[in-house]
């Protein structure tokens, strides 16, 4: 091995490494390491000053131990000492140790920075490179603060060596990523752009990376780079005989630089200047042509490098989305790759085609490959590739091929890998809904889905099918018949029982005329599954039974018998027991009229975004669901477009005591409690069952009038069976506060909750006022703010407990300090508990802390606005929604709402004066997200079109949801 002889072999280190390798067991290795650590520690602590070589050797040993996966808690100081050594090898090891084991110990960082400063000033290129590498490797904020001013100078200085320029460019790039606010823009920027013309291709490569990063932030400042990049690219790609020497990689001229230049061009729209544009088109055509030429080498490196450039060129073509000719050629090229023998190319072709499918110019061309893609789904051995095929089928799906694609996906599902089943289920469910012309097909598809992959059918999927069946009366009879038939199977999935139970409970009467599905047969069929099901499903079935009592009075006695049986009335599960008790009582004492009102058919669901889509989005990271926006756009006019939004009466607040009218049957209670305050749920439920419940039933007759006057008490069912809906409905309360910060959050007979809040950047403060409206003292008054699931990490809310006693007529105040850590979807929940007249009261309210509260308005000119607008053109960045005006369309009110939303209202920006545009930045602790919005009113149609573009998909989605509810 020549390496060992090269200069600086450290014999002690080699011996130590051999020792470790010879260790027979993990224990022996640890023993050897501990021995070595003790040795090094004693050497470092020893009186005798170590010479540079020993220090280097021991630091290197520590590094080796660390890289084996052991913790190292000393030696940092010795490593820092090595930085000031004059010996190159010692310095190098010192820097390596610091790069790998960076410690945020600020004392040390100062010393390290000192060493770096000296080396940067040394004018020795080798030392300067070491220092720059260290800055780039560590990239901490302290380092950025210390060096961002110097590095641009080094980069553009005339006498800097090429290799140092390269390091300086990439070092600056790294600092720009970690601390973008610290990198100063200035006169050096124009000189950096001119590095694109540099003689040295290595310098050009590094500079292109840097410019790309900076241009994404400041496109205007680096605009001149477009023409320079095009001419550089053209010199590499189109000239026949350039000798790029060592920058030619397996017969491909400068592939890295080409890809980086193509990437830089993706920061900009197509060049406006005709000559530049022509030259770029020529480059892109040449790259496409070269793909058809026979390879110059059989080596895989040659084809990889060549195709890397080709794929990047196709990305640029898709990004520009303006040359139909190029788009179609790109599509044909990818079509060839679909059948290439290289698995990598098939994978990449499928992936690239996904984005191509969303362009109007190439959508049709992509569709011609459907058979190949379906075939890939069936025959590919590699799950990664099959996954891409599923994605592409999803992206290319439209009304013309939906039936075929859904059928193929269902087929594939039977044998699909477990890891991707859930996602396929979601995709099938979405496509079936989106492109359903005939809803019987939709219902069949979903039932098939449950049959084939019941375990992977999430709640969202079956909630959705029920929402749709309820909202579309043309499909109800068919659904009832189909689920009835599906339930005949001896073993059917629990999800089918849920759907079946729900649908028969609502629409069983539609098939009851047929003697083969008479009421009793329906009931017996469902009840035969009852004992095999989990508690939530049984609870749902009990609700179905009570609905049967209303639908089919002839089997009332049978059902009452079932409810009365010990296995129900004395069920160990409180929820089941409570339902059985209450339903039984209800069926006994209520007159037919009352029953008919209470158990009326479900009202249509308010139109809302398909919960399945949300789920798919959560599953896939941002940017992985290519035509989400399209889905959203089409959805309104598609599926339930005809259903007018209907407000569901269940309020955001659920009182747990029977003295209030909202939740007579206690149905809404359990799920809400379960989801809101798991800790307290058990306790308060017990209270309900043992102390309050019987009075509840007894008082039923008195309160019946009041309760039943609410026309849709039946919708309590929704709440209980669909916790998501319970939370969602509550959004109406939150929506009230989207554009304002103060007001009354909640009020009932007992108390009033008022709010005052203020927000600044990513921080906020909320004053909550609890007013006791009664003359009696509230005891054991306590509140808790609950952030569920992901919200825990996204919001940081701190508060002090309030005084446990609130006097009659008095008001107490609570202050919440809120920090937004990253962007979030849900609202935190305020849970309030207190004793009033001996009964425990428990209520939950959504707190109107919404993402838009962390807006800071941004003023900008029309030109800036549209420049930025164009920059945010990736499909996932845009969310659009078309909706009907719920309030009179008053310009001044709309303006006030937009300003209240938190963005700056930009006058004279939109060419159409009746449109509204706004801009702002969402501040969170982790990131800041710029946001542009445009609201186009159509007074004739009483409709609005709202478009939001932000750099983050989830933010666009959330803001659109929030704002669209305001008009």
């Amino acid at each position: 091995m020549p390496a060992v002889s090269k200069g600086d072999g450290m014999r002690g280190l080699a011996v130590f490494i051999s020792d470790i390798r010879n260790c027979k067991s993990k224990e022996a290795e640890i023993k050897r390491i501990n021995k070595e650590l003790a040795n090094i520690r004693s050497k470092f602590k020893g009186d005798k000053a170590l010479d540079g070589y020993s220090k280097k050797k021991y630091v290197c040993k520590l590094l080796f131990i660390f890289l084996l996966g052991h913790d190292i808690d000393f030696g940092h100081m010795e490593a820092v000492n090595l930085l000031s050594s004059n010996r190159y090898t010692e310095k190098q090891i010192g820097y390596l140790f610091i790069s790998v084991l960076v410690n945020s110990n600020s004392e040390l960082i100062r010393l390290i920075n000192n060493g770096i400063k000296n080396d940067l000033a040394s004018r020795n290129p080798t030392f300067m490179n070491l220092a720059l590498h260290c800055i780039a490797n560590v990239g901490s904020r302290e380092m950025a603060e210390a060096f961002t001013a110097d590095i641009p100078k080094i980069l553009v200085a005339g006498d800097t060596m090429d290799s140092v320029k390269q390091s300086a460019a990439l070092c600056l790039l790294r600092l720009n990523r970690t601390s973008p606010d610290l990198v100063p823009m200035g006169e050096w920027t124009s000189r950096v752009v001119h590095l694109l013309n540099d003689q040295h291709l290595g310098v050009v490569t590094a500079a292109t990376s840097l410019i790309t990063t900076l241009a994404q932030k400041n496109p205007e400042e680096f605009k001149t780079s477009v023409s320079l990049a095009v001419s550089r690219l053209s010199r590499i790609v189109t000239s026949a005989s350039t000798d790029l020497q060592d920058y030619t990689y397996y017969f491909v001229p400068a592939p890295w630089l080409s890809v980086k230049l193509l990437r830089l061009l993706q920061c900009y729209p197509p060049p406006e200047e005709g000559a530049v544009r022509g030259r770029l088109t020529e480059c892109l055509e040449t790259i496409l042509n070269k793909a058809q030429e026979p390879p110059k080498s059989k080596k895989v490196q040659h084809s990889n490098a060549k195709n890397a450039v080709l794929f990047e060129a196709i990305s640029l073509i898709i990004h520009h989305d303006s040359e139909p000719n190029l788009l179609v050629r790109a599509c044909n090229q990818l079509g060839q790759f679909l059948q290439h023998r290289e698995t990598n190319l098939r994978y990449l072709a499928l992936e690239s085609m996904c984005t191509l499918a969303s362009s109007e110019f190439s959508h049709e061309a992509v569709k011609t490959h459907i058979e190949t893609v379906i075939n890939a789904l069936k025959t590919e051995r590699d799950v990664s590739v099959r996954q891409r095929a599923v994605d592409l089928l999803y992206a290319m799906c439209d009304r013309s091929n939906a039936q075929q694609i859904v059928a193929e996906m269902l087929n594939y599902l039977e044998t699909a890998d477990y890891s991707i089943r859930e996602e396929i289920v979601l995709k099938v469910a979405i496509l079936a809904e989106k492109y359903a012309v005939d809803y019987t097909w939709y219902v069949d598809t979903i039932l098939n889905l449950i049959r084939i992959a019941g375990d992977y059918v999430s709640e969202e999927v079956w909630y959705r099918v029920i929402q749709i069946v309820i909202n579309r009366d043309d499909v109800q009879g068919y659904s009832a018949k189909t689920v009835f038939e599906a339930l005949q199977a001896p073993a059917c999935h629990e999800n089918l029982v849920k759907v079946g139970g729900y649908i028969l409970g609502e629409f069983g009467n539609l098939i009851a005329g047929d003697p083969r599905s008479s009421p009793l047969i329906q009931f017996n069929l469902l009840h035969s599954k009852f004992h095999l099901c989990s508690v939530p499903t049984r609870a749902l079935l009990l609700s179905t039974y009570i609905k049967f009592v209303n639908l089919f009075p002839e089997i009332k006695a049978t059902i009452q018998d079932v409810l009365r049986s010990d296995s129900q009335l004395r069920n160990a599960d409180v929820e089941l027991q409570q339902r059985a008790v209450e339903y039984l009582r209800l069926s006994c004492i209520a007159s037919t009229d009352i029953l008919a009102t209470v158990l009326e058919e479900m009202p249509p669901f308010p139109e809302r975004e398909s919960s399945i889509l949300t789920k798919l989005k959560k599953k896939k990271g941002p940017g992985k669901v290519p035509d989400m926006e399209e889905t959203k756009k089409e959805r309104n006019s598609d599926m339930n477009g005809s259903t007018e939004p209907v407000s569901v009466n269940s309020s955001a607040v659920t009182m747990s005591t029977p003295s209030t009218s909202t939740d007579l049957l206690g149905l809404g209670l359990a799920p809400v409690l379960n989801s809101v305050a798991p800790a307290s749920a058990g306790g308060s439920l017990l209270v309900d069952v043992f102390s309050d419940n019987s009075p509840a039933v007894a008082s039923l007759a008195h309160t019946a009038e009041e309760n039943f006057s609410s026309p849709r008490i039946g919708s309590a069912d929704v709440v209980s069976d669909d916790p998501a809906a319970a939370v969602h409905d509550a959004d109406e309360l939150v929506n009230k506060f989207v554009c304002k910060n103060n007001g009354v959050l909640f009020e009932n007979q007992l108390m009033q909750i008022g709010l005052k809040s203020e927000f600044r950047q990513n921080l906020g403060r909320m004053y909550i006022f609890y007013g006791n409206k009664t003359s009696t003292q509230f005891l054991s008054f306590s509140t808790a703010v609950i952030c569920q699931d992901a919200l825990k990490t996204q919001l940081n809310i701190q508060t002090k407990q309030v005084d446990p006693a609130v006097d009659g007529g008095a008001q107490v105040q609570q202050i919440l300090n809120i920090e937004c850590v990253s962007d979030f979807m849900e609202a935190p929940i305020l849970n309030i508990q207190f004793r009033y007249g001996g009964a425990l009261q428990n209520m939950s309210v959504k707190l109107p802390v919404t993402l838009n509260k962390f807006f800071q308005p941004t003023e900008m000119t029309s030109q800036d606005f549209f420049q930025r607008w164009k920059q945010l053109s990736i499909p996932q960045q845009e969310v659009q929604k078309i909706f009907k005006a719920k309030h009179p369309m008053d310009t001044e009110v709309t303006k006030a709402k937009i300003i209240g939303f938190g963005v700056a209202l930009l006058d004279m920006v939109d060419p159409n004066p009746s449109n509204f545009t706004g801009a702002g930045v969402i501040h969170t602790k982790n990131i800041q997200v710029g946001c542009l919005l445009r609201l186009e009113p159509n007074t004739q149609a009483q409709m609005y079109r709202l478009t939001l573009r932000t750099s983050r998909e989830t933010v666009s989605q959330r803001l659109c949801e929030l704002l669209s509810e305001q008009f």
Binding site: H133, Q166, A308, T343, E819
Partner: protein
């Protein structure tokens, strides 16, 4: 966020709500924030053996030690579990994993979804070529015993997850120079300066 917390502290003292509104805001900085997210970069590069032993790790993003260990564990497990003759790509969380096997050694890079996969394969290949040129027919043992050299060579080639120098000649010249230079430089530097 030290600056912001100061504002909140002041808030406690002054009862009015308007202080927040009065605070002057730098719109330029706000406009700057629009595109940070669009950056695509490599997150890490790992070298490990067929037995799952880590030989080299390089991180291009700031990330905690525990998280690093978790990623290393998941990477070795899932890459080693891949069937032969499959493609070199794998989805993992929001990242795309590109990996390649060289004899007993696997190289694995985590990159953002939109990055160029094929070129990443060639980055790994070029790195192996550089190791090969330096060590002469490189094998796993070379990397074990001269791990610091493997790091130095990687540093010359990649910086901040971007390719710094693609020319094999330039990189190896750089490394050989520093190998040679260290002797002469050491001699030079250790001379008394008077």
């Amino acid at each position: 966020m030290p600056a912001a917390s100061v504002i909140l502290v002041e808030q406690v003292r002054s009862p009015g709500l308007s202080i927040l509104r009065a605070f002057n805001y730098d719109t330029y900085a706000a406009a700057n924030c629009l595109y940070i997210e669009a950056v695509k970069q490599m997150h890490f590069m790992l070298l490990f053996s067929r037995q799952g032993k880590l030989r080299l790790q390089k991180w291009f993003i700031a990330i905690g030690e525990r998280e690093k260990k978790k990623i290393i564990r998941e990477m070795t497990q899932s890459v080693l579990a891949r069937q032969p003759k499959t493609c070199n790509f794998m989805d993992w969380k929001d990242l795309k994993i590109v990996y390649k096997r060289y004899a007993s050694l696997y190289i694995c890079c985590g990159m953002e979804d939109q990055d160029n996969e094929l070129l990443t394969i060639e980055i790994m290949h070029r790195y192996v070529e550089l190791l090969d040129k330096y060590f002469g027919n490189v094998c796993e043992l070379d990397i074990i015993f001269n791990f610091e050299k493997a790091y130095f060579i990687l540093d010359e080639f990649l910086m901040g997850g971007e390719v710094q120098e693609t020319s094999k000649l330039s990189v190896s010249k750089c490394i050989e120079e520093s190998d040679l230079m260290q002797e002469t430089m050491e001699e030079y530097m250790s001379k008394p300066t008077f």
